[in-house]
Symmetry: C2
Amino acid sequence: MAKETQFVEQIADINTNFPQWYTDVVLKTKLVDYGPVKGTMVIRPYGYAIWENIQSELDGRFKKRGVENAYFPLLIPMSFFTKEAEHVEGFAPEVAVVTHAGGEELSEPLAIRPTSETIIGTMMAKWVQSYKELPMKVNQWCNVMRWEKTTRPFLRTSEFLWQEGHTAHYSAEDAQEETLGMLETYKEFVESCLAIPVITGRKTDKEKFAGAVATYTMEAMMKDGKSLQSGTSHYMGQNFATAFDIKFQNKDGVLETAYTTSWGVSTRLIGAIIMTHGDERGLVLPPVVAPTQVVIVPIAARKPGVVEACEALKANLEGAGIRVILDNSDNSPGWKFNEWEMKGVPLRIELGPRDIEAGKMLCARRDTCEKLEKPLDGAADTVKELLATIQKDMLEAARARRESRIVYADDIQGILAGVDGGNFVKAGWCGCRDCEDKVKEETGATSRVIVEGERAEKCAVCGKKAEKMLIYARAY
Amino acid sequence: MAKETQFVEQIADINTNFPQWYTDVVLKTKLVDYGPVKGTMVIRPYGYAIWENIQSELDGRFKKRGVENAYFPLLIPMSFFTKEAEHVEGFAPEVAVVTHAGGEELSEPLAIRPTSETIIGTMMAKWVQSYKELPMKVNQWCNVMRWEKTTRPFLRTSEFLWQEGHTAHYSAEDAQEETLGMLETYKEFVESCLAIPVITGRKTDKEKFAGAVATYTMEAMMKDGKSLQSGTSHYMGQNFATAFDIKFQNKDGVLETAYTTSWGVSTRLIGAIIMTHGDERGLVLPPVVAPTQVVIVPIAARKPGVVEACEALKANLEGAGIRVILDNSDNSPGWKFNEWEMKGVPLRIELGPRDIEAGKMLCARRDTCEKLEKPLDGAADTVKELLATIQKDMLEAARARRESRIVYADDIQGILAGVDGGNFVKAGWCGCRDCEDKVKEETGATSRVIVEGERAEKCAVCGKKAEKMLIYARAY
């Protein structure tokens, strides 16, 4: 019983204390733990299993797009960063530096990669000789490090895991197509696998990647109304190719400079899942990436036949490729319900003597809390269908919530009121950085993305003619 | 034609200049490239694809053994290493150290992990409370760094990729069983998937892991007769659990100290594949982990129907889960043969107008250079069988070669002559470190493994009564 009490620890109220709710959920469901060095995290097995599922889904999509995986060194000479002027300015303040190794001081300090454009650019310059080798598309799954002052597990930590794709092309058009194509791939993945609706589009120059010509982003609304940048795809033009000398002979034997792109998503996506779907009971995981999709809880487990029936059902579901566990522990059913709800398992099946006799099972959906009686016959198909429905409904629910919380403002007070109310705020923008800065200063909101195909009449800040429509939001 | 000339670059002769042959092969087949920082490597897509296949095979085996993946921070406070006395002595000289981050000097220098016993021990101490949580088995796939003076791609580089498993147990017996069980899993994997026969057994104390009670190893013979330590499994007893305070309440509520193990294999295994199977033409890859298992080369490709037939065959093989490519380039068939042989593709299928008319395909085995005429009907099954045969034959060939090169010596001159002749040398050992040191000094060979179940009469060095039989060899 000691353990039971231990577990029924409360998590903070999601409606009144969202930040504490988040911290409670990530720690108590054992997704993550704090590492001994400030700002670092340990990704525990339950969290890492989500990442493995994300990796497997994304990696298949990358390969279909002709991308090959590779691995580049962790340590980058500091001098590499200075080759692209904007890039060094953007990343130098966050870099962790190795000065000693093998008992000696190094002749040149080495940066732990905050991102790998500079080292991959260096290698591509060596590998690319002719137009025949283009496009060259490589990706790496790795750790990167950015020394941050304020950190939160998954959202911002000094070290995190990600994938970074880097491609080189023979023309601007081809590189732009890759940039946007990957953004589309990300969006399709995040919506279909993580059930997170995203708004995609271009960033303003203020918010773009250090060294890019254009950065495209996908922005997701968390339950507190803040935006989470969930992935980016950058068109570099010839900036990096010039700096790193990525040149190729074209069909006529003339030397040309390549065009490059880069794109990435990270373990942040796990934070996005938590804050998009979680509720007062804890995690709610989308079936496609949930480490456990179904938990079977025996009712009156000591009655003859119950455990056997549960085991048979488990074997049946497993055989159909469903990730299922049977909770055979000594804890009470009620305790088990709480535990697995907190851990966000999409579907719980309760099976007791009466269900077995009637050839039924009780299915409890985590997302809607509905309880459905279903026949045991054909259980695997039923469960598969239910999981697909949950996956679809989670996306629709998140989308409906987001849609209800996008407002329009035509002045800075409107923007402030909008974001204070937990909304994304659409507002006109003249195109100048000063106006973006002013919104940041006065409301704490930043421009998240330029809205495609919509225009406002005037800039919400300066009142001049608007060039673009922006979405402003407070952000993680 | 310029490109054709470029490719037919020679690789050094494997029989007269093995080290240069190795370097030529790894670079020219694009497995790897040198990184810009001395001692680092870039794993190129062709090399990384082998690693992905290794990962996928091993990871499934780990999970079957109840191991869960997780991720621990890259940076470890230097003070952690000092907690286990032997461990700090073993690793401190090789550590790369971060002293600055985020523009400031750190209050405590941080080591880039050379291995993660210390940080995982710290976390396990926090997570393990009761015997119910034991055994705890975690693994991580990650990069580690050991600053080495002399480096070679895959074999010894300052950074490499590996997996490190760490387990905690309630009894010495359970931990020992895990140590040996994992060694067995490694052996089964390396032999069945990489076609590399290994000798497994315990290391002498001189050669064991810094901080272990016992280290078990698998040693493989490379084509030059040198040994490559291909994986290790360590029984730590309570050394690390005591140093890091991994304690648990036993069934009677009494606090006990856990027993731990760790085990790992790395990208070294790619080096082992190259040096076990490679020949004068280049790589020879075992089908199970070969990125491309079959290459189809059209003969007289301009004749009507040839390319179509090749494409149909490709689709057929792909449908059966075979990793196949069709080389449709403008290069001559002879050039293609050379290229794909150098890259070690296990099976080449030639298909020309006459073959198609006769309903046949010509299959050329990379391992034996045999050419076999086979019916196009049922091609997928035929190819699968051939690949399985190649896999099996490669293991047998490597085993026969190794068996023919294990000799016995009863004095130090005999050991020297044996290793000079490219052999593993079995010799008696009294059990003292001085005798091992003397062999190293006079022959350049080290003790690789204690031979299980064999005893010699006297120590080959001092002539005293032998306690054990050792295998001595020069090693990578």
